[in-house]
């Protein structure tokens, strides 16, 4: 028979290993369910299957002369100069939200051209562009 010490150590190691595996499983499972993907209007246009119930972020430029206000909401168009998406948003706007500036909106797609935003991300520097937007714009301009 194994000694008492060996056995209790084996149980200890077994417990540690199981809890490690369990932890990793829980972490990645919840990560999978809770991440938000970032897409450009062109990526949405080209995408085959779209989950309308999953929250996503859209990044691009606010198209010129497209911001319209009402008491409840703001409508505007996000463009990456190839494709565009019509956005409806009600909520507070960051200081630097303006036409022909970079923007990131978070919310749900209604269809391929129509986005219901529940958050416009804050930017605090005029020259600052989210790397995501910068990259999306660079990528689109290269092609």
């Amino acid at each position: 028979m194994l000694g008492k010490k060996v056995r209790s150590r084996a149980i200890f190691i077994f417990l540690v290993l199981t809890s490690l595996i369990l932890t990793a499983y829980i972490l990645f499972k919840s990560l999978e369910e809770n991440v938000v993907y970032f897409l450009s209007p062109t990526e949405i246009y080209e995408k085959q299957e779209i989950h309308f119930d999953k929250k996503i972020r859209i990044g691009g430029m606010v198209k010129k002369n497209t911001i319209k206000h009402s008491a409840e909401s703001i409508n505007f168009i996000i463009t990456d100069f190839k494709n565009e998406i019509y956005v409806i948003y009600s909520g507070s706007i960051p200081n630097l939200f303006a036409e022909e500036k970079g923007v990131v909106a978070e919310g749900f797609l209604k269809d391929k051209n129509y986005f219901l935003a529940d958050k416009i991300l804050a930017k605090h520097d005029e020259n600052y562009m989210p790397p995501e937007v910068n990259e999306a714009l660079m990528k689109e301009s290269k092609q």
Partner: protein, 629 residues
């Protein structure tokens, strides 16, 4: 000007002193006596002196607006208030790095003065490892981010400091946070040293406990200041966004909190040697990791004011080098287990051990949430963001057993504790807490079960400590008052956060001047706008009346500030605080229209979140003071 030269050459000299120190440590290490060679003292002091001199040269360059230095030109302006010129010193990459080095060397100097009772070889090796860190960062600052870099021709005027950084809480946030971060360096150095000389013991734990406490207190306060700033300055009314930059300060805090507890066990029971050493190494690695992530510009975040891959690569290589070094030392000199590592299930150390694992779990969850998006992007170019839903989902349920175990193990004794004695008391508290939660669920039906359990477990902790506190004043028993205050603070923190996030109300509307609107039980009137000019900004002030149902009027004046150097607009929230709730109004103009975008929020128990954080730090502070006397 003279300060630029002085600062730069002081840094060069401190590199020289670092190298000389290595040499003298090597010489002195093999001499068998109990005293460290006086040369080592003098060169440590000289190094400390030159680094501090260099730091103050930069401070003076900022105060005198010496635009011949690139870092001053880029981050300051002659018309700025004196206080922000001063804090501008560390409001940028180069200056904050110099501050980092200044703290590194101050901690070494303090360690040298405070460790006279410890073995000579252990002290020498600690100085040795700390000097590796100092030298590494000195080379880094001179190679990649010299704060004394000259500009030719000398510009007439500076570019100004980002207005959102011009704020009292944020001005003192970096130094406080850095003392916390860098404080862990001396713990790291001393744990490597103590492994080599086989000094990982009760005595070692007693002697580093003070350093753990100091870093922990400052890190707690630093995180709190950053959070307060985010609450009123970023204009969203949140205080924690699970932004990567916040996460990188939370991770060392979690590791340090676990370390603080395992050091206490080591000091009391002489168990957990390896675990304590591992936590010391992890804590410092996470602090370095924080610097790497923030400084490399990898993160998509407003805090990222540096954007130079060279810097990131240097810090990353240095971090990898230090991690490998500690791993090698750990495997060669792993602390020998003394005594029985298996201990009684019903004892204080068991409770602390379990909660230590919980803290490591929280830490892993935050770590994965922070670096997974970076890894994913590197691997397949996919962009994702991990936000509050992930953290709420993964952390909240585990807080419940964490709080309950905390409540019980605070009451437990060391080595062996009979749960029977405490059963009556705990049962009474349990019923009390349960009653309280049932009341809450009766009045507010829509709360989900996880939140109710959080209420329950935090109230359980609060009541239990309240009772201990009460007993203390009736002089019935001796207690550890510092421990009670910190844990009470933690219970209160979780409770207040739960209340605040469950019962907060928030509404966004667009209003024109003169309009009014009904919000919940209030009526909000947008009376008019007024203008004001300050030294470095103009502001547009909105005058709002918030009328309660019973006719009581609150006057709100949220501001829009237009800073001129650099030209940036910011919103200043107006907050009315009392002990029950904060009322919060922030306004924004909607470009190209007469509408103003108003966000109104009611946040119950907000002030208690800050009070609780202060209590947590106060407990640590008290523990140092009580120990000294």
């Amino acid at each position: 000007m003279i300060f630029g030269e002085l600062g730069y050459y002081s840094l060069i000299f401190s590199i020289l002193f670092s190298i000389l120190l290595f040499f003298f440590i090597y010489q002195d290490y093999f001499i068998k006596n109990n005293n460290i060679n006086i040369k080592i003292y003098s060169f440590c002091f000289l190094q400390f002196f030159t680094i501090i001199l260099s730091f103050f040269s930069l401070v003076f360059s900022f105060l005198l607006s010496d635009f011949s230095l690139a870092s001053v030109f880029e981050n300051s302006h002659s018309s700025k208030p004196m206080f922000y010129k001063f804090s501008g010193t560390w409001g940028n990459h180069e200056g904050s790095l110099l501050l980092w080095i200044a703290v590194l060397s101050s901690f070494l100097f303090l360690f040298l003065l405070n460790s006279k009772k410890d073995p000579k070889k252990y002290r020498l090796l600690t100085i040795f490892f700390q000097n590796i860190l100092i030298l590494g960062f000195l080379i880094f600052i001179i190679k990649t981010s010299n704060p004394f870099e000259k500009l030719i021709p000398i510009p007439k005027e500076g570019l100004g400091l980002n207005p959102i950084l011009q704020d009292p809480a944020l001005a003192i946030h970096p130094p406080i946070l850095y003392i916390g971060y860098v404080g862990s360096s001396i713990i790291f150095s001393s744990s490597l040293a103590s492994m080599i000389v086989n000094f990982v013991s009760k005595i070692w734990a007693e002697s580093i406990k003070i350093w753990v406490l100091i870093s922990w207190i400052f890190l707690t306060l630093g995180i709190m200041l950053g959070s307060i700033w985010a609450y009123y300055e970023l204009g969203w009314g949140g205080f924690w966004f699970w932004d990567p930059v916040e996460n990188v300060s939370l991770m060392p805090w979690l590791a340090l909190t676990a370390l603080l507890h395992s050091v206490i066990i080591l000091a009391k029971r002489n168990i957990f040697q390896s675990w304590t050493v591992i936590l010391s190494i992890i804590t410092f690695a996470l602090s370095m990791n924080g610097t790497f992530l923030v400084r490399s510009g990898i993160l998509n975040s407003i805090h990222t004011f540096a954007n130079d891959p060279k810097r990131g690569i240097f810090i990353l290589s240095f971090l990898i080098f230090l991690s490998l070094l500690s791993l090698i030392i750990f495997f060669i000199y792993q602390p020998q287990k003394k005594g029985n590592i298996f201990f009684n299930f019903s004892s204080k150390e068991m409770g602390i051990a379990i909660n230590n694992w919980f803290m490591i779990f929280f830490l892993s969850a935050v770590l994965i949430g922070t670096i997974y998006p970076i890894l994913l992007e590197v691997i397949n170019g996919k962009k994702i963001s991990v936000g509050p839903p992930y953290y709420n989902f993964i952390l909240t349920p585990f807080l419940i057993p964490f709080l309950i175990i905390m409540t019980i193990s605070v009451k437990m004794d060391w080595i062996r504790s009979s749960i029977n004695e405490k059963k009556k008391e705990l049962l009474f508290l349990l019923i009390f807490a349960l009653f309280f939660v049932l009341m809450i669920s009766y009045f507010f039906e829509e709360i989900n079960i996880t939140v109710l359990l959080i209420f329950f477990s935090s109230i359980f902790l609060i009541f239990s400590l309240f009772k201990d506190f009460f007993d203390f004043f009736r002089n019935k028993k001796k207690i550890n008052i510092a421990q009670i205050i910190s844990h009470f603070g933690f219970g209160l923190l979780i409770f207040s956060i739960a209340v605040c996030s469950t019962f907060s109300k928030e509404i966004d509307i667009n209003l024109k001047v003169g309009e009014s609107i009904k919000l919940y039980n209030y009526e909000l009137k947008f009376k008019d706008l007024s203008m004001k000019e300050d030294k470095n900004f103009k502001s547009i002030i909105g005058n709002f009346n918030l009328v309660e149902a019973n006719g009581k009027i609150f006057y709100f004046n949220p501001e829009l500030r237009i800073y001129d150097q650099p030209l940036i607009m910011t919103s200043e929230a107006n907050i009315k605080t009392n002990f029950f709730k904060d009322k919060y109004i922030v306004m924004n103009n909607v470009s190209g229209s007469d509408y103003y975008n108003i966000r109104f929020q009611e946040k119950p128990f907000m002030i208690w979140i800050w009070i609780a954080s202060l209590l947590i730090a106060a407990g640590g502070f008290l523990s140092i003071i009580l120990k000294r006397n």
